[in-house]
């Protein structure tokens, strides 16, 4: 069964289509929400809210658009609303802000990055990603974990393509800086 056929059956309220879509997206949605809010309990709550919102608004979904982009934008809007309500300070980072100077300066070179990553532990990389501002965690998750096209990411974030590129570049620079400074310094 394709996503499109599951979605059209979900519009008719078919429980089997719901089960199929849940099966297909459960881990990806949970992972994405976890990257955004970082707390499992909050991610679980938002997981439920996202599915309820999707089931409620599925008739308003335009099949000409990508279902995944629509689905993740529903999840993202709920997560951002949550962060805005409970942790407004986490949204302070905006596109107008400059990349911190230390992200660009005194990088010890690619060999240091490679050395660190060679001994990488997945948990530590996830920890480094979690230390980035939410707008950067968001774009990294959509690009590298959800493997979305840049145009789809722009649709999910509701920003121009150029903003997606800027955020991606800054997110990678920031992550690299974190890895090189914190891991090299022996911080665990």
């Amino acid at each position: 069964m394709t996503v499109e056929s599951d979605v059209s059956r979900l519009r008719r309220g078919d429980p089997e289509a719901l089960a199929a879509l849940l099966e297909r997206y459960q881990n990806r949605l949970y992972r994405y929400l976890l990257r955004l809010v970082r707390e499992p309990a909050t991610a679980e709550d938002l997981f439920q809210q996202t599915w309820l919102r999707v089931a409620e608004n599925i008739r308003r979904y335009d099949p000409a658009r990508s279902f995944e982009a629509w689905f993740f934008s529903v999840a993202r809007n709920l997560a951002i609303d949550h962060l805005r309500r409970y942790r407004p300070e986490s949204l302070d980072e905006t596109d107008s802000s400059e990349v911190p100077r230390e992200w660009l300066l005194a990088a010890p070179g690619p060999s240091a990055l490679e050395r660190v990553l060679a001994g990488e532990r997945a948990g530590r990389l996830a920890e480094a990603v979690a230390g980035l501002p939410v707008i950067y965690r968001d774009v990294l998750a959509l690009r590298f974990e959800e493997e979305m096209k840049l145009e789809e990411i722009a649709g999910v974030l509701d920003v121009p393509l150029s903003t997606v590129k800027t955020r991606l570049g800054r997110a990678l620079e920031g992550l690299r800086h974190k890895i090189e400074t914190e891991w090299r310094g022996g911080r665990r």
């Binding site: 309220g13 429980p15 719901l18 997981f47 439920q48 089931a55 990055l113 991606l168 990678l172």
Partner: protein, 160 residues
């Protein structure tokens, strides 16, 4: 000096190159430069390693109980929505039915009232008052029917 600036410009594009975020022309320029620059080749390898590590990060699994709870909540929501739709349709039907009954039976009631009035030898003049009283009576009956239906439905839901 120009070559140095070109080198720096390409270096600043390497992160976007591994993210697949460059235009075709920029990508071509990067590839050409990297092929001839060992420093940028090493730098690009570092970015590629980082991008690969991001793609390989383990996916946390959604708890099975959470998925089950979510499914149950959506299905309960569908049932509630279907019930709301049914109630709205029933209400519309009852309104239509009550008006139909009121208008269709009014001439009969009027004729019968006149007959009874003339039989009792009472002058029959209160047409509008009677229409209002009759309408209220019919609507009250429809309201009671709707309330009884709702009670029955609630009882059935409790037993289910």
């Amino acid at each position: 000096m120009t070559a140095r600036r070109g080198h720096e410009a390409i270096r600043s594009l390497l992160a976007l190159a591994v993210a697949g975020a460059l235009e075709a022309e920029e990508q071509r320029r990067v590839e050409q430069h990297v092929a001839a620059c060992p420093g940028c080749t090493a730098e690009l390898a570092g970015w590629q390693e980082l991008a690969g590590s991001l793609r390989r990060m383990p996916t946390p699994q959604a708890p099975a109980a959470l998925v089950e709870r979510t499914r149950a909540r959506i299905e309960a929501q569908w049932v509630a929505q279907a019930e709301r739709r049914w109630n709205q349709q029933l209400m519309a039907f009852l309104v239509l039915f009550a008006w139909t009954i009121t208008l269709a039976t009014w001439p009969i009631v009027r004729l019968a009232s006149r007959g009874v009035a003339s039989w009792l030898d009472v002058p029959y003049t209160r047409t509008w008052t009677d229409l209002v009283c009759y309408t209220v009576l019919v609507w009250l009956t429809a309201g009671v029917a709707a309330a009884l239906l709702a009670v029955r439905q609630r009882r059935e839901r409790r037993l289910a």
